[in-house]
Symmetry: none
Subunit: 411 residues, 2 copies
């Protein structure tokens, strides 16, 4: 459900500040039946102390059973229903690489593929090449294909067989079908506009077909990577900005390009973070928050490693990352935000090594809290919290309400 129009109607500016902390993929599962989750296993005296005087609840980001990608999970927490506010794969990949997209630019997700001599697809991922091999081959393409019909062609390595293609030029549309046939033994599909009368998308399709043909010529002498498959043709969406909807001045404190990119889609200002050896190290982020504390009233603060350790199946590593966050917490609380919330954009249970659909705990501290039977920031305790079961899109209005920024609905 889209609450944003109602939020827009009722929001008001106040001096209070909101610190919104996302521990990526923080929700987990027990390693063995009956055992603790990563959150329950972690030694977190500061979180425990905060949980005792906060309100907790459980958040479903998309819908029960739907494991959220990073984009949808975050959009939901920012108030944008991920079923209604969808981002194309090309755009998400570009954002993940830190590629800036202007209005009218087109981003496409590319796969290196192996084609048979008859032009049919032999391997949709070209044997999963190394990322170094991807870079080598992409450099060849980049050298030979800089422009097609006056449209600038930019190529970026993602990883293994994956790359991102960005088209920059006038009059391009994004309503174009994939060329990836999703199976082997058949030829790649031609790029086609979804609607034959859509001239802008027809132009994009023609350029993509020309790109695919030229790529085959350039890669003709390659033994494995001799073709490309394209999908997720998309343009940067034009959504109402969070500032426009809420009156907030929102900033993002995140090191990884993907999260800075998603935050920028809803109009947050991504702040520079000093990155040392470990891009998730807290010192840089804390300094960024301090440097800009007076300029904004909503700070989205992102930590990545709770997700990466989960994806790696590293239960103890995830526990350790949670404990590292706990050590930082007193300094974050010391910033003095009126409302502090901590949650995740999805679960990433180490035992699953993947994003999952399980609800994530939400901790909310600020004025006007109820009593709450939840004593720790864990999945199980959160079930006893005063906030109950929430959808991700309900988090923003709750933060605004506790910060005194949401007026009464109706008389």
């Amino acid at each position: 459900m889209d609450l944003l129009p109602h939020i827009k109607e009722l929001s008001r500016r106040t001096p209070s500040k909101i610190l919104f902390i996302v521990l990526d993929g923080v929700g987990g599962l027990p390693r063995e039946p009956g055992g603790p989750t990563e959150l329950a296993a972690a030694r977190t005296p500061n979180l425990d102390e905060l949980a005792a005087r906060a309100n907790l609840g459980r958040v479903t980001l998309v819908a029960p059973g739907f494991a959220p990608g990073s984009g949808p999970g975050h959009l939901s927490l920012f108030g944008y229903d991920p079923f209604l506010y969808q981002v194309g794969r090309g755009v998400l990949s570009a954002l993940g690489l830190g590629v800036e997209l202007g209005p009218g630019d087109i981003a496409v997700r590319g796969n290196f593929a192996t084609l048979n001599p008859d032009g049919t697809v032999a391997d949709r991922r070209a044997g999963r090449p190394s990322t170094a091999e991807n870079r080598r081959v992409l450099a060849k393409l980049r050298e030979h294909i800089r422009e097609i019909d006056g449209v600038k062609v930019e190529l970026f390595t993602e990883s293994e067989h994956r790359f991102v293609l960005v088209l920059r030029g006038a009059g391009l549309g994004a309503q174009v079908h994939d060329t990836d046939p999703q199976k082997t033994g058949v030829e790649p599909l031609p790029a086609r506009p979804r609607d034959g009368d859509d001239e802008a998308s027809a132009k994009t399709a023609a350029i993509l077909n020309e790109f695919s043909a030229r790529a085959r010529e350039v890669l003709a002498d390659e033994p494995v990577i001799n073709g490309v498959l394209l999908r997720g043709v998309s343009a940067r969406p034009r959504w109402p900005a969070l500032s426009e909807l809420t009156g907030l001045t929102p900033a993002a404190v995140a090191s990884y390009p993907m999260y800075r990119g998603v935050a920028s889609l809803v109009g947050m200002t991504p702040l520079e973070v000093e990155i040392g050896a470990d891009p998730d190290a807290p010192e840089g982020k804390l300094q960024t928050l301090r440097d800009h504390w007076n300029e904004f009233d909503y700070f989205y603060l992102h930590f990545k490693k709770t997700d990466s350790t989960g994806e790696d199946g590293d239960f103890d590593g995830k526990v350790h990352k949670i404990e590292k966050f706990d050590e930082l917490l007193p300094q974050l609380l010391g910033l003095g935000a009126e409302v502090v919330a901590i949650t995740g954009d999805h679960s990433t249970p180490s035992v699953m090594k993947a994003h999952s659909w399980h609800p994530v705990p939400l901790l909310l501290h600020g004025p006007n809290l109820r009593g709450d039977a939840a004593a720790r920031f864990t999945e199980e305790e959160a079930a006893r919290g005063a906030l109950g079961d929430l959808h991700g899109t309900q988090v923003l209005p709750l933060l605004l309400a506790h910060a005194g920024k949401l007026q009464k609905f109706g008389a």
Copy 2:
């Protein structure tokens, strides 16, 4: 989500009766962290006894973070999604004053204002005059402006700077912008139809502009109150009646005009209540219920003072009002309704002195109950109830189901 079409499809008449009790603003917050809420602090042996054999749950009336006004809170409990069934401010104010509105009548919320000699607004609330002063000035207007272009003009004092203007005549539309510019230093806006082709609303706008001009003439010699600002131009909505949707014969037992008015919007019959010195005293309402018990099968019973004490910041007063209700409860149960439910239309925590977004407890007693870990009718106990977390619009179908009035959905 609008469940009403489905309820209409599945409802059936049965002889069972539903007593639906709304303790206005009954949800609360602890006076100090860790302390009890008003409900938890109250000594309520009868409620406790009922809660032990009832099912409890938590109800969100509008959406998390959205503090409901009295209109939306009640509409939600009556089954009407307040995002879909919106009432204009003018109509709500008129209902609050007990002003009857027929089809085609237009209600407008008026503010007395102070205008500068150049016509710009100096004070949008004319220094917040006393209600007595409001009456004096409104009598002057009433004397000079009885009719405009064949349309009857009626004026009603609300309080302080607020009054209600009702237009009664043929061919009037309600799609008219406010004249209140919402700031000082600029002139009041002319009343304009939202759509230039809407002749009925253009007629209303012309009458409102004439009213504003005549009011300035009549008030020319007033030192402070020398102008009016108009907003919330609205007509009584035409919604499907509860009886038509459910087959119920619904009656409202409420003393205050606002609640009788909102109940009448969904087609309830507002019953006369003998009001003594205290309009919220239970004796009159109990007598009304007894007098009409055989005529209706759904009784909405409203108590106001749990809200007023909360609005006053009077924690102990609210506790006392809850305890007074508890004393009455055995007599209410003695009426013999098959289904009895108790809840609130929103929270009004004494510490906030205002409506709030916090969920309200719901108690449901009747046939076919589950076991339930909630032992008292309090916010915290309700979190452990068998009914779980509900939206306000889900209460009506639950009442109908427990009363045996809702058939199976699908084969």
